[in-house]
Amino acid sequence: MAELNLHAPEMMLTNLYEVPGQRIVEHFGLVHGGTVRAKHFGRDLFAGLQNAVGGELKAYTELMEEARAEAISRMRSQARELGANAVVGVYFTSAGVTSGAVEILAYGTAVRVEKV
């Protein structure tokens, strides 16, 4: 499974509007990354059975985590292309796009920060 690393040294992500202890020196505007994903048919079936029993749908939790990691990495590479070293004010949204597929979107503001 893709690793959801929010603390990669080369690109800081935060949902604050600043990076604590650092100063924003340049502004690159909005960056976003999204992905639409579907679960494997077999596991979808299993999740359907589990749905009847109740409790956590592990297959779907995993699906969302993978998709979110992918969305973040796309947003991050967009920010890197602009020359940013941090993305502040990060938000996530998700929506069911068609039956059996879900969209995950990550977006934020790409900036360059420096130690004060």
């Binding site: 999204g34 639409v36 048919f41 796009v97």
Partner: protein
């Protein structure tokens, strides 16, 4: 003869008509949809490179600069998948993993919604508190709405 009777008569004389229509729609989607997407992508890139004003998810760009005017800015677009890519997407959904036709379509829709938001406020200096939402308009619909909102800000430049 009413409309339904006319359809029934047509189906009796030529039972392959619906098949031809569906295959035709898929073919047309494959041919037209691709070029339409490419043209849309090109237009979006051009407009994006023309846009030079700061945009942020934060509630300010420069907290110390006095603001003369602030107003809600909204941009929205409803997109749907062409028949050809729709078939590709439903095959992908059986396998699982990323549904690339939808990812690409929604990426374009998002950028279009943002651009519409910017273009509705040509005199704004900056767009702050920007949010993006995607919503399906009805259950299992093949079309979705992408909505971008923000606050368009004009800075005070008087003496």
């Amino acid at each position: 003869m009413d409309a339904l009777g006319w359809v029934e008569a047509l189906l009796e004389s030529a039972p392959l008509v619906p098949v031809v229509l569906i295959v035709g729609a898929i073919g047309a989607g494959g041919v037209l949809g691709g070029s339409r997407l490419k043209a849309l992508h090109r237009r979006i890139r051009e407009r994006e490179s023309a846009m030079r004003r700061p945009v942020t998810t934060a509630p300010w760009v420069d907290a110390h600069r006095p603001v003369a005017h602030a107003t809600l800015a909204v941009g929205t677009v409803v997109v749907s998948m062409d028949a050809f890519r729709g078939v590709l997407a439903s095959l992908q959904k059986l396998i699982g993993g990323e549904v690339a036709p939808y990812s690409t379509l929604l990426d374009l829709a998002r950028r279009e919604a943002l651009l519409r938001m910017y273009e509705k406020h040509p005199r704004a200096d900056a767009f702050v508190a920007c949010r993006i939402m995607t919503s399906s308009l009805e259950e299992n619909a093949s079309y979705v709405e992408v909505l971008a909102t923000s606050t368009a800000v004009r800075y005070w430049t008087g003496s």
